[in-house]
Symmetry: none
Subunit: 226 residues, 4 copies
DNA sequence: AATGAATGAGCTTTCATTCAT
DNA sequence: TATGAATGAAAGCTCATTCAT
């Protein structure tokens, strides 16, 4: 019964109900535009219908209800969220360079119009759909943190860094990298995306501060107890 | 049903429509309970009416509509948000102690159940009511930042700190102080408020890192490259 | 708060929400017309709204949902269903006359257009609203039966009738009285109400048959055992 | 999903659209299960489709719409409704025995769960599909009545019974036989099928009453006045 | 000035029916 | 001929807002 589309546009033959990935994406694209423009509550299924160019019934074949549609949309969007940052981290030639690349990619992505918008919507429904908010940055724990922590762990093991609590250190670096943008963008006090050069400057400061504290050496970083 | 106790009713005669500050607060108190419990969309004016113990019409005399009621509520709540943190900053006997007190107070308050809830609600309507989100932490720019920046400026002027960009440095310290809590609480990956001892440890690390980088000395902290 | 209407049209002052009996009846009247014309499923709340001359919201203040509205309607209608038959029974000068009056009233009422229509609708939703169907003829058991049984019991006690099972006998008389009409009207093979003269003839036969079998005398009626 | 076993499929080549009686029955079987379980309105064509193991389109080739499908279903079911009762009547060795067999069979069948369910559904749509309800018990007039009336006519002709109005007498006997069950089962005041022994007792009373009134003899039963 | 009953647009969701494949 | 994905009208119900009292 299920004959999956072989290329991209529903090619030939039929697909099982609710199984055509092209139509599914078409719906998600329409939903994305609506949710982004209006938020979760204000986006009506009617409008999504129109925007996606499918009928009401079709949407309900692919997605059980509005919440499920939203959850699936976020799921789809999430996957690519931290890809660039992750690869930047692994590509870095030195620790400082790796952190710089990671921090810039992360700060840029997290403060992009789209992601900011998405974060707001997700937080707006966090009470009703807690798992959506919880997994917004990827499978728990906050995956950017997990990745960076893994990286830091490896450098600590190699003796290149001295960090008593790599989970905290990872969070610290991320917060330092996004110090100028995250809250400002989320709460709207910064209305434009920050220029790359400026982001780079902020991350440079973050790297410098981080390395000054955690860089291996006699004075070794401290995170709390001594 | 809920009637205000005799003595708290506007004292003498009648007040101009929509002018009685006691009734105004009574409405805002009810609205606060509803919005916090249900969120902006789910809180119905009917429920607010009941919770506040006033009639529908009265609410509409004091507040033009649901949005305006919400805006006014956030405005009222905001003022006290950073009071403790601010006074902790000014009470500190040393820079490190001042920062420690400020950081702990800030991290604690920002990750309290109430404030987390409020942030989510505010962010959920940020697209529709941008100025509410924008001014959530106080008059622009982000007021915790402004206060801390002022403090840092004074210490720089006194030669106790070396900071090229005190705005950035203020943000950095705040982000470091809330590194373990802010995102986790907001996105729900941390479901309980963090124990005070743990908050203190995190802030100690923040202070150490901050002072290591910006503490006055030959190597003076840098925030860009030179 | 609740100031009940003193006469018939909402007289003066306000009534508590969902408490105005005049408006309540107005809604039930509109609902009655719609349900009778279209049946339960086909009657839309919109149409009832229009027919009753009230707004959607008002209906939902008085009745929680469509089912509840229907239940309340049937409840209201039911009360008068067997009044006439009951009083005819008690007015009869002889047993035969009492039974004749009761039978004619019952057969007439049960086969009237309105009652037939109502029975169909009630039976149509019987699976979903069993208690509505169950109590259609009044509080259990089938109240016409209960009343007649009580009457028969008294006559048996007085020695005027010999009936081993008065519950069965009551049902038998009722079925005999409505033998020509009940099923025919309900299932639509008889499309007009039966002329009174004809009903009277059928009930006369019922009375004759009943008295021949149960009338006190040496041969005494039998209903089952040897 | 449900596929008919090879051998039951239309035997040779193709059948004209909507002409294969095997497929037709297959559809009606599925529809029967759905309608009985859910009632007319609640049974969706989708569910019938699944239950019958045919496609939506196919159903619409065989039956113009949902109503027509229902009509045809009732038509098919109807034929067997009174078979047993009819043969019991003709097998009876005496009039009393014939009536007893007929009455018990009829009362049992009419109050069986399935038939009660079917009657309710049919009555629920009686206003919209009058002919379905009208012909529920067979071709007009009420066929159980017609058959019994024929039987009574023959006995009257033979001088074994004295009945002025055999149509009425037939109805009377049927109502007496089902006096304890019909309304109670239909309106749900009796939730279980009645035990056979009890049905037999009720029918015995019906036969006794009937024979006492219509049994040939000097006093000959009368159904009108003289 | 305060009340709260009434309003009705608008919401999400269902499902009989169609028609391209 | 048979299929079942797609359609879209219409359903029950909610709730911000109004205005007669």
């Amino acid at each position: 019964m299920v004959r999956v589309a072989e290329e991209s546009v529903s090619p030939r033959g039929r697909t099982a109900a609710g199984q055509d990935p092209v139509k599914r994406d078409q719906i998600l694209d329409g939903a994305r535009r609506c949710f982004m423009r209006l938020g979760f509550e204000a986006a009506s299924m009617n409008e999504i219908t129109t925007e996606a160019g499918v009928s009401k019934g079709t949407i309900y074949v692919y997605f059980a209800n509005k919440e499920e549609l939203f959850v699936q949309l976020i799921e789809r969007e999430r996957s690519s969220l931290l890809d660039t940052a992750t690869s930047r981290l692994l590509e870095g030639e030195s620790i400082a360079a790796a952190l710089q690349g990671f921090g810039v990619a992360l700060a840029t992505r997290l403060s992009s119009d789209d992601v900011v918008r998405a974060q707001r919507i997700v937080l707006g429904v966090a009470e009703r759909l807690p798992q959506v908010a919880r997994s917004f940055f990827g499978p728990e724990p906050f995956s950017g943190v997990a990745i960076l922590q893994g990286y830091l762990d490896s450098k600590v093991a190699a003796g290149a860094l001295t960090i008593p609590d790599t989970d905290l250190a990872a969070r610290q670096f991320i917060e330092l990298s996004t110090a100028a943008t995250f809250k400002r963008r989320l709460f709207g006090t910064m209305t434009q995306e920050m220029p790359v050069a400026e982001v780079e400057r902020v991350v440079e400061s973050a790297v410098a501060m981080f390395m000054a504290f955690y860089g291996a050496g006699p004075q070794g970083g401290r995170s709390g107890s001594d």
